[in-house]
Symmetry: C2
Subunit: 242 residues, 2 copies
């Protein structure tokens, strides 16, 4: 597993599958993969999320980076019920410090990263690609069990046991989680250094029908607080009242 | 991880998620779970397989066992390309001993069991269920890397790291693979002892448009050979020429 290479560029022409939600984190992870010299195969999973406007953001980011391919795949996790992100539970509007004090948040989607990484692995094996990037981080938001380093290491082990490519290439599958130890401010600073346009990204769990961010859900609150601490204006579009 | 309990019944009212393809193996795994006293929540993943007649078989098996719930979820793995089962590559018609000598077969679907187990895990967590049954076996057909005990153990480890339920319940997720060390004959004998009607199941990789099994693909060949070695007639419907 690879955490963060600290900005070193690579000269390889390796290819990588990058999970791209359209949010701030995955856009930054994609920029890091591109900066490391990987040809990007971006995978967006439409899992029936309420914030489908994220999918538009993913398309904008993929276009901005001229990725080799952007594949969208649909799976309706709403069939399983649960979670404020896929079912009709109210999205909490607490302050981020309150959210983080509550343990695993209601917006947690059961096994979401496992489903996403499994799909990334399936595509990677088909492409003979061994590098998978995911923009999780565990510092700002430690409530999700599937954002922890030990989880990602376990997935990497699984990937190399699960696949013909892993078996025949002796454990070459690598899960890259370059943001995992970064704070939200550090992620934004890193992305800005790489030229990421965060105006393309979408983070809000509860956007308006026109795709404006609410500015109040926990995801917005964490994002806005990070930009504020950096003395920067968040270029994303928010509702007027924010 | 639990391999085989040798037919002991259990008196619990625990619930289990059972992956049900509609084939001989998954029907047997479901019967074993029911015999162990689990209330069955059957999950059928429609991954764009050519043999959609399997889905009908899954429904027949679920009805026969009066499962508590049978959920079908669609994900189009054809988007990733590859594999004779999801793309338009010819299904091999070799004798099973030849097929097994060739290593990992062309009918291998990249990361299929990982995707399926991830979905089973997502549903299980939503239901507060900790037992997942999968009808894989590695004796008759060792070419698939994601049918090996070490793979299933790695998934169990992952499941307990990936989920709120796993974290909060200290590793209670259990992957049951009761067929993993059985030969195809042993699976059939076990199922018959539990009253499984194999006429309900569908195994063929290349059925006719009316759902008749071809009798010649590797899956049919292995199944027919096992019934023959047991001196039994396979009750499934085959094309006349078989």
């Amino acid at each position: 597993m690879v955490f963060d290479k600290g900005g070193q560029g690579m000269s390889t022409t390796n290819r990588a599958v990058v999970l791209l939600s359209g949010g701030l984190d995955s856009a930054t992870a994609l920029a890091i993969a591109a900066n490391e010299g990987f040809e990007i195969h971006a995978l967006t999973v439409n899992y029936g999320q309420r914030h489908a406007v994220e999918l538009e953001a993913a398309r904008r980011v993929a276009r901005a980076y001229s990725v080799a391919r952007h594949l969208e795949i649909a799976i309706d996790l709403r069939a399983f019920g649960a979670s404020a992100l896929t079912a009709s539970i109210d999205v909490p509007k607490d302050r981020p410090e309150d959210v983080m004090a509550q343990g695993i948040p209601i917006t947690y989607v059961p096994a979401r990263n496992t489903v996403m990484l499994s799909l990334a692995l399936a595509w990677a094996e088909t492409l003979s690609v061994f590098d998978i990037f995911i923009g999780v981080n565990c510092v700002d938001y430690s409530g999700y069990p599937d954002c922890r380093p030990e989880y990602l290491r376990a997935f990497e082990t699984l990937a190399n046991l699960a696949t013909r490519a892993g078996v025949e290439n002796q454990g070459r599958f690598t899960v890259h989680a370059p943001l995992i130890l970064l704070s939200k401010e550090q992620i934004i600073e890193r992305g800005r250094a790489l030229g990421v346009d965060y105006g393309l990204t979408h983070t809000c769990y509860d956007p308006t029908s026109h795709g404006l961010a609410c500015g109040r859900c926990d995801a917005c609150a964490i994002r806005l607080a990070a930009f504020a601490r950096l003395g920067l204006r968040d270029p994303a579009a928010y509702v007027d009242s924010v």
